[in-house]
């Protein structure tokens, strides 16, 4: 969504796709200027800023006054999309393993431990769990939930018609970084609807994401 927002709202002051701000030790540079410090300087210079991109959530953790607007994906659709990406992209880290195991269906994939790195991805991202680190689903959900409660002011839902445009438009106007409602393309559900058994397998493998989805919808009044 970051790229779409950047296109829809060129006045947005900070685009963060290229910044990886949170390696707090060992910057690895050799005396080069650190862009994070520039971003910090600009933000602290006053006024409100709208930031977006891959690093926006990381950056929000740096700034206690950040208000996060989040769009949550349907965990069932996201999981199916993840499996489709693994099969489609030869350079995906799990592609070779999936080919070797001969998985052709999402049900086979999510039944296998091979899928562990792709399970509960939304909770992992919110809870900032690094690649290769694992938490039991209950703890993962609790951590993501507490972060949502602490930081997230509004949640949009994939596939729900009252999508993110109106609220993002209001945010942009309130912050004074733009004037209109961004013309975003809403998410659309995958074409293939999973059979009940596959859906159940995916739900079990991604239980934290499913709990997050239910929690978030309840919080927003079950849109």
């Amino acid at each position: 969504m970051g790229a779409a927002l950047a296109a829809a709202c060129p006045e947005a002051r900070l685009h963060l796709d290229a910044v990886t701000p949170l390696k707090v030790s060992g910057s690895g540079s050799v005396g080069a200027y650190d862009p994070l410090i520039g971003i910090w300087t600009e933000i602290m210079a006053g006024g409100a800023h709208l930031v977006h991109g891959k690093s926006a959530l990381d950056l929000a953790h740096c700034f206690p006054k950040s208000a996060v607007v989040m769009v949550l994906g349907d965990p069932l659709w996201r999981a199916m999309e993840s499996f489709r990406n693994v099969r489609k992209s030869a350079d995906h880290p799990l592609h070779a393993e999936v080919e070797a195991q001969g998985f052709t269906t999402a049900r086979e994939f999510y039944r296998s431990p091979v899928s562990v790195p792709l399970r509960n991805r939304q909770c992992r991202k919110l809870a900032r769990i690094a690649e290769g680190q694992e938490l039991p689903p209950d703890r993962l959900f609790e951590r993501a939930r507490s972060l949502v409660e602490a930081m997230v002011v509004w949640i949009g839902f994939e596939g729900i018609t009252s999508g993110p445009q109106p609220v993002l438009g209001k945010v942009i106007r309130d912050l004074g970084v733009g004037s209109g409602t961004p013309d975003l393309v809403p998410f659309s559900p995958p074409k293939a609807v999973p059979d009940p058994e596959t859906a159940e397998t995916i739900r079990e493998a991604n239980s934290a994401d499913h709990r997050l989805w239910e929690f978030a919808r309840e919080r927003m009044g079950n849109p």
Partner: protein
Amino acid sequence: MMPTGDNAGLPVVGKRRRLLFVTGNTSGIEPYFYLSAVRPWVEGLGHHFEVTCLEEPDGLDAAVERVRPDLLLFFGAKTRLLYSGPVFDCRARFGIPVAALTLMDAHSPAKQAFFEHAWRLGVEACFCIDTGMREMCGGFADAVYYCPWFVNHEITRDFGEPKRIPVALIGDGFLSTGTDWRYPWRRAVAGKLREEFPTFSSPRPTSRFPHELVGEAYGRMLNRSLLAFSCGGSRHIFMKKNLEIPASRCCMVSEVNAGLLHLGFRDMENCVFVTPSDAVEKCRYLLEHPDELQALTDRGFRFVREHHDARNRTMIAEWLMLRLDLPAGRRIVQPDVCGPLRAVPVDSGERGVLLTGESPFVSGMEQASSRWSTGDVSGCLAAIEDAARMLPLTMEPKFLKALVALAEGDPRGAVDGFQEILRLGIFWGAERPDPLLWGFYLLALDRSGQTETAARLAAAFPDVDHPVLRDVRASLGAAGVGGGPACPSVFASPWFFPESPEAFLAALRATVEQNCSGGGPA
């Protein structure tokens, strides 16, 4: 000094003053830490004040109007203050004393964020549980007062548990082969203890690796133990565990340090002080003499309940009493942790008590500084590495290393070093840079050939000012930026600037001019 006489248990304040305690939003605090560390403070202040808590970020003006407090006290847990509302000089706006209470370690990378936030809120006194903060906060030291942990009766008491555990090794650092150097003494004793006695070990719970031994379960486990080990870490500070163990009617075994002595702990009177070489012998003696151990344990139990209860923590109330009647030309000092505070002339040389000077970390920093001042750069860097190994995220070794790089002709290394500290500050919520850090960072950028960037950044943060920063800004064409009151710096310490930051900058410039005129390095 033993906490008897003046400060032996009753509040010194006759009339209970009104306190507006700005806790901010505490919902992000780990539940176990909230129960064991935060809630006791909220409740403990009630012994000395009529307390009104404020959590909402936007209600400060209305709350002051409603409560009409005698004191505004901001709260910080392990990081910066939890208040997230508008920042302004509260002392000027409300005309009442303003203070802060922090549970942060002085070696925390959040320290600079905490102090700069407190400074902008007009905080004039910071009450700290870390009994080594004064050695570690540079220009803020005179505003720091110690208000150490006290017994939490809810989770640490005598539950009547049967004594089943001979030796308990609770918390981090008891692995003799680990990589954790924060607790050098624990590393030194742990292996020998494990060889000689049945021990129970439990790491400190974290958000990533929580466990069930927290709250009352933790207190009961200590209550089941005969001996439990603690220490002051690599900085010899007074720890919560130093009270939790005796308050659970368990005998505390510790390394001796100035903080424990100041707080009244005495070997074989109310605790056991051991060294790595006599730990096994003293523990064995006590385990073989259960009556003696029981009597010692009981004395420790009574001691902490009588002298280290929330009622004994009168420092904030004392400070307020002095502050409300403070004549011009006087300031308030805390000569001893448990002794009374008193007002002294502003120009008096008397300073607050210092307790951690002989700790491995502080000695290491002093050694690094002294080696550098004698021209032993490699010895200085080795001492910095030793200190950094003990507390890897702590800013002081990083700052000294960057400063050495700047002075020794490696500005790019200095840029890296200062940036790492700035990143840590940003990560922990700093909204303004430390003035000395910012000044020397700009200088390092300029000297590494990034003059344009340095000039652009020199115009930023006009409300951050300091004579050194003003000087650097002027050299970068931003002479008009700043001009407000000089901000204190957490790095204004003799570890970095034996004479003064200004003198250091002048010497640095003189060296460059000498090099430019062919004089060679000084």
